[in-house]
Symmetry: C2
Subunit: 178 residues, 2 copies
């Protein structure tokens, strides 16, 4: 951020009075531009003993596999966002079962909210952001070609929970890498 | 948003190519300025049969009672944000028990994440954004002077769950008012 979105003047990075964090503050009109973490919402679609994954057609992690998920949009709920992303990226219709995985990724200012979901039919197809969409069981899943740590963590929980026969909500914080 | 934060030129509201939503797009450098929902994180601090509330010293809802909560900041986890807000607004030290309430408020692009927490001592005191901080049981709680629907909903769940002796995570979507 270099310019104020309210007046177009340059901003500087400083601690506003009464605050204790660095913010972008307009040197001209004084507007404080707060920045906050974003939610990534998505689904873990199940079909019998398989789960649906998408191979990414965009950066970052082009060509690697992920669960259908993306940034939550204004005006929607977390579940609506998860359904939308699943339809957009995988062309897949699902019914949400439950929130399954809440993962903090403070390094990149994201919180993942992934829902366990039941795939309603097999008429899925890659959307514009996917190269391919496919079902995998635990043993043929491309574990070495997963796009994100959050997806790996969620899939690890899932197959372990499958063996136990119960699917509690999992909370994880991904380590700060610094 | 009137000006591009990257280059300072005017922005217009339109659907970028390959997208299906209106965004602020820079007329000069082409930067797309996405806007996403924010998380409000906070605690429901318990002390025996009472809960801790803060009376707001700021707008909106000046003078009304709320749970200690506020916008999650970059670089923190949801629980860290909830602890920070509880310390800032109520001067209160708590130990988090569990995530208790996840409430979508799509009208205002917010998701509330409220944790049940155990108050560690009674040395609480209002921070800069609170007029007073106090403990209430169900019957003396200022039900008619609560600041937010999310807070009312969470407190209603809480006292009902107290009678049942169990505290599952609650999911709510607040109705769109339009």
């Amino acid at each position: 951020m270099k310019y104020c979105s309210a007046c177009g003047a340059p901003v500087s990075r400083r601690i506003p009075s009464g605050d204790n964090r660095h913010r972008y503050v307009c040197d001209s009109c004084g507007t404080i531009h707060y920045e906050n973490p974003r939610m990534v919402v998505g689904c873990l679609p199940e079909w019998h003993d398989k789960v649906l994954l998408c191979r990414r057609a965009i950066e970052p992690r082009y060509g690697l596999w992920t669960l259908p998920a993306g940034f939550m949009e204004n005006g929607e709920t977390t579940a609506e966002g998860a359904l939308r992303e699943t339809l957009e990226e995988a062309g897949a219709r699902v019914e949400i079962v439950d929130l399954y995985s809440l993962i903090n990724v403070p390094d990149i200012d994201q919180v993942y909210l992934l829902f366990r979901a039941r795939l309603l039919d097999l008429d899925f197809a890659p959307g514009e952001e996917s190269l391919e969409v496919a079902l995998f069981d635990e043993h043929d899943l491309p574990w070495e070609q997963l796009a994100f740590r959050t997806v790996r963590k969620t899939l690890e929980h899932y197959f372990e929970d499958r063996r136990r026969g119960r699917f509690p909500l999992h909370f994880d914080d991904l380590d700060r890498r610094s």
